[in-house]
């Protein structure tokens, strides 16, 4: 066996070891992800939506300051966006409350 072939063999062995060790080692965790929790997904989605709605309100203010929209349009759109944000916050609160209740029930 030439030196190059020896190197190649060594290379393959190292790679097999590197990718093989996790398969035979003991893992603290068994699962890659927890089962899909619709509440968790909804919560994450609503957090993003809330953030976007608040950014939209800021941008609306910017549009008013730069005279891109009129005062009346601003008031109307702001009301609409605030209502959207309130709805999102309420739903987020509901999910938080429900989750906390579940947690305390589990711990008991």
């Amino acid at each position: 066996m030439g030196f190059v072939h020896f190197l190649e063999l060594l290379f393959v062995v190292v790679i097999l070891l590197v990718i093989g060790i996790p398969l035979f080692g003991k893992m603290k965790l068994k699962k890659l992800v927890e089962a899909v929790d619709p509440d968790s997904d909804e919560y994450k989605h609503l957090l993003v939506r809330k953030e976007e709605t608040l950014i939209s309100i800021k941008e609306l203010e910017f549009d008013l300051n730069t005279e891109k929209i009129s005062e009346s349009d601003y008031q109307e759109l702001r009301k609409k966006l605030e209502a959207e944000a309130n709805e999102l916050i309420e739903r987020l609160d509901q999910l938080e409350q429900a989750r906390k209740k579940n947690k305390s029930a589990k711990s008991r």
């Binding site: 190197l7 890659l32 992800v33 968790s40 994450k44 976007e52 730069t66 349009d73 999910l95 989750r99």
Partner: protein, 671 residues
Amino acid sequence: MNDIGEFTLLVALATAIYGCVAYVMSARGNRIDLYLSADKTPLIVWGCVMISSICLWRGFLTNDFSLQYVWAYSNIELDTFYKVASFWGGQKGSLLFWTLLLTTYTVVVHFQNRKKNLRVVPYAMAVLFIIIIFFLFLVNFSTNPFERIPLPPEDGRGLNPLLQNYWMVIHPPTLYLGYVGFTVPFAFAVAALISKNLDDGWIRLTRKWTLISWFFLCMGNLFGASWAYVELGWGGYWAWDPVENAAFMPLLIATAFLHSVMIQEKKDMMKVWNMSLILLTFVMTIFGTFITRSGLIQSVHTFDEATLGYYFLAFLFVILFSCMALIIARLPLLKSENQLDSFLSRESSFLFNNLLLLGIAFATFWGTIFPIISEAVRGIKITVGPPFYNQVNVPIGLALLALVGIGPVIAWRRATVSNLKKNFFKPLAAAFIAAVALAPVIPLGSRVENYTYITFVLCVFVLACILIEFFKGTAARMGLHEESMFGALATVTWRNKRRYGGYIVHIGIVLIFAGIAGSQAYGTHVEKHLKTGETFKIRGYDITYEKLVAIEATSVKTRVIAQLQVERNGSHYWTARPEKEFYKGQNQPVSEVDVLSTWKEDLYMILADFRDDESATIKVYVNPMVSWMWTGGWVIAFGTMISMWPDRLEQRRRLERFRREETLFPSPAQE
């Protein structure tokens, strides 16, 4: 070393196949052991491809002509600079280079995401690996760059003289960085479809990747145009060549995507549209590669051994149909309840811009594939030339240019007619003044001249729209805070990087449009056969042909240089030295043009021919405003840099969101 290079390519392929399978199985079986095992593969694959690439580079730098690829694209006399670039000078090396870039991107994606979004990331990595496997399959079994010559010749054939230009080092890697980069958003989009995580998470994860890829593709196109301008010696920079089109189409679709994702982020709508756009962008990058490597369509860019068409065609169809099937299967989840608030809004202007961009992309696509279709249907290959593209794309392009100005001025969600009147008054007034001022100065009559006039007026309109935006933002900031004008301008730009960075990119686009219009409409050229001492005139330049000099530059290259003195208003202006280069073993000489570029116009000289009596045929082009295009490119680069600069506010928001999520729904590692 060559054995090692060949061997590591095989190991890379085997590891990539394992990685792909392990990622999919880890996600489907929810197995962390498999994920952790797969987690090692991106780095191994990248390492193997890197070793292989180093081996090939070594072959070039040490003149190892036992490698068929090195023999075909290098020789002993070749500059080290070009030996490095010869790596991607031919089909085999360019595919290895593509693979190297793709695996590099994959490693970066891996390190960015390996511990988060574990429902999506394994699938995204698997998709990236599928594409890597395809390319590794080609470089291993179809276009192996380590193919040997049994009896190595003493010297190589050399790099095509046309490719011996500094742009060879810059243009292909830039373009490839763009092409390959779109694999990342594509992989995440497919992963989102497979894992049913169809909110805008994948868009946020890949926003910067999309922008970087767009930037490289844009610069790649411009660099390509610049290279064609100085190297091919025809006085132009864009010929609607199929391969140019192939790089242009994904750029158009990606531009549409960059705009329409903003609507999804803001309003949680247009999910199907955005998904389709990013899939189409990726498909177009593969289509471009198919064109370059199929030999089906004639182009100056196609590789000599263009035999890979069927592999790419098959791959293209597999991707296209599987993605379409995935989108159709997920249609119920991609539906959005939100709607546009008003027809008069920035959202709808973005929709129009999408339609126009896709219109240009479709017309370009149709023109590109028309020779194939005509041959299939009628048995005659009919090539579609620049007149077709110009006739269809110029009017759409002008409408698009108008939208570049209109979009930023319209408010998000809703605008009213009275607002529009108020906001568009100044830009329209500026455009009107420009129209009146330009009418007597600019020749009108022919279609090209009329289009050019409209372009200039629209450029003024768009510039006015953008500058007023900057001014209003600055004024609003100054009204709310006690800041100087420059301080307020800097703050308002820095706090809204995406918005104002985008506006700066738009200024770059305006410069490019103006440059194209000016150079296309008002360029002139003349071709003269001159004896030494003879003079001729063109656009106020007096050009005197002085002498012809032949120089043995290297043992394989002879340069024949014509020296011309250019005078303007009776005083010396420039000494031009266009030349022809003759390479040993090459039938055709290469023209090296000489260009004096100014803000107003380029004086572009070509030594077209010469005779033994030292007389020479000189072609001179006066191309107005060409440098505007290259300046536009730098402005785009600056704007993109601002848009991409990390936003601390956004990072803080993301961290806050993550903290809240983790408090309520901790990830397994924390439970």
